[in-house]
Amino acid sequence: MSAWTGLGGFVGDARLVAAKDLRIEWRARTTLGQVLPFALLVLVLFGFALDANRPTLRLATPGLLWMTVLFVTVVAVQRSAAVESADGARRVLLLSGMAPAAAFVGKAAAVAVQLLVVEVLLVPGVVLLYDAEVESVPLVAATCVAATVGLAAAGSLLGAVVAGVRAHQTVLPILLLPVSAPVLIAATRAFADGFGTVAVEGWSWVGLLAGFAAVNALVGAVVYGPLLEEA
C-alpha cells in the first residue's frame, strides 16, 4: 500500500483539513461570535413564550434544544462550504492529491467540533433556564456525540452537493432540515429519557443516531471526491 492510501496519511490529511477549518472559524468567529449568541437567544425566547406553562416547557426542552442545534448546523455547514468556494480555494483539496474521503472527514470533524462546543454551552443553558434536570449524564453525552457526528456528516455531504448550485444558501436548509429529521426525533427522545421527562428507552434511540451517522459518513466519504470536482 502506498503512502497516499495509508491510514496514517489519511488521518494526517483529515487532521490537516479539520485544523485548517477550525483555525479559519476561530479567526472569523462565526460560531462563537454570531451563532452561539443567536442559539442562546432562541432558548431564552422559547423560555419567555412557554414560561407560563412550566410543565409544557420542561416537556418540550429536548425538542427545543435540538431544534436550536439544527439551526446552528445549517449555519456551520454553510460556512464550511463557503470556505472552499471562496477564491477557488477548493483547488487546494483537488490539486494536492489528498484523498477526497480524508478531506470529507476533516471538514465534517471541524463542523462536529463546533456543534459540540455549542451543545456543551446549550445543555447547561436549558438546565438553568428551563429548570431541566439531567438524570443520565452518559445517555445525554452519548446522544450529543452520536447526533453531532450524524449532523456534521449529513451537513458536510449536502454542503458539497449544493456547492455548485447558484442558490445554494437557500437550497441547503431546504435539503438539510428534512434529512436531519431522524436526528431531531431520535435525539429528542433520547434526551427526554436522559432528562427523565418521558419514559422511553433512550439508548435504543442512540443506536439509531449512530446508524444515521455511520451511513452519512460512509456515503460522504465515497461521493465527496466527485462532488468536489463538479462544484
Binding site: A3, W4, G9, G12, D13, L16, V17, K20, R23, I24, R27, A28, V83, A86, D87, G88, A89, R90, R91, V92, L93, L94, L95, S96, G97, M98, E229
Partner: protein
C-alpha cells in the same frame, strides 16, 4: 516523455464546446504561450491540462498520465495559477503555503524561501491574505506553486495584477522552472510581456489551437 499531449480534445460545458478539438504537444523544458482573445478557451485548456476538467471527446495525457482515467495523478504534479488565487482568506500567506505543502506531501517545504522569491515583505506574511492587495495575493498564489515544485506549470495571465517587480519575478520563476526541466504553459490574451518568455507561441480561437511562428 511529453509533458502535455492533446489530440482532438473537446470539452463541453453545458453543451457548449469550450474546447473544440484542440491538438497540443508540450515537452519538458519548453515554455509555450497560448494566446487568444477572451473566451477563446485558454482557461479551459489549462484546467483540462491540470486534470480539473473531463475530456468530452478526444485523447490526452499529461506527464504520462491519461486525462481520461488518471486525472488524480495529473493533479498532484501540476501547478495552476488561475484567475482566482486558491488561497484561504482568513489564513496568512505562510499558513496558506503550509497547508498547500502539507496537503501535497512536499518534503521539507521551503515556505520562507518561496515567499522570499516572490518578494513578499516579512511584515505581510502573518497577515490574513484577505487583507492583502490583489497583486500581493497573486504573489502568494505563485509562491504556493513554487513550494509544490510541480513538473508542469500552468499560468493563466501570469502578469495580471502585478507591478513591474512582480512581473520580473514571474519571468525569473518561469525561466528557472523551464531550466530545471519543468514544462510551462502560459495563457494570455495578448503577446505582451509573456511573449518574451515563450519558446513557442500558439494561438487559440473558438476553442481550437493553431501553431504560430517559433520565437
Amino acid at each position: 516523455m511529453t509533458a502535455v499531449r492533446l489530440s482532438g480534445a473537446v470539452v463541453l460545458m453545458g453543451g457548449f464546446p469550450a474546447l473544440a478539438g484542440a491538438d497540443l504537444e508540450v515537452v519538458p523544458g519548453e515554455v509555450v504561450l497560448v494566446r487568444g482573445p477572451n473566451g477563446a478557451g485558454k482557461s479551459t485548456l489549462l484546467h483540462l491540462c491540470a486534470g480539473l476538467l473531463r475530456l468530452s471527446e478526444g485523447q490526452g495525457d499529461v506527464l504520462g498520465c491519461d486525462l481520461g482515467a488518471d486525472r488524480a495523478a495529473v493533479r498532484r504534479r501540476v501547478g495552476l495559477l488561475g484567475h482566482d488565487t486558491a488561497l484561504y482568506g482568513e489564513l496568512s500567506a505562510a499558513e496558506n503555503l503550509q497547508v498547500w505543502a502539507r496537503a501535497s506531501r512536499v518534503a521539507e517545504a521551503d515556505v520562507t524561501g518561496a515567499l522570499d522569491r516572490l518578494g513578499l515583505p516579512q511584515r505581510l506574511r502573518d497577515v490574513p491574505t484577505a487583507r492583502l492587495s490583489a497583486g500581493q495575493r497573486r504573489r502568494v498564489a505563485l509562491a504556493a506553486i513554487v513550494v509544490r515544485r510541480p513538473e508542469l506549470w500552468l499560468l493563466d495571465e501570469p502578469h495580471a495584477g502585478l507591478d513591474s517587480d512582480g512581473r520580473a519575478i514571474v519571468d525569473s520563476l518561469v525561466t528557472a522552472a523551464a531550466a530545471a526541466g519543468a514544462a510551462v504553459v502560459l495563457a494570455s490574451h495578448e503577446t505582451g510581456p509573456a511573449g518574451g518568455l515563450a519558446t513557442r507561441t500558439v494561438t487559440m480561437a473558438g476553442g481550437t489551437l493553431s501553431e504560430r511562428a517559433q520565437s
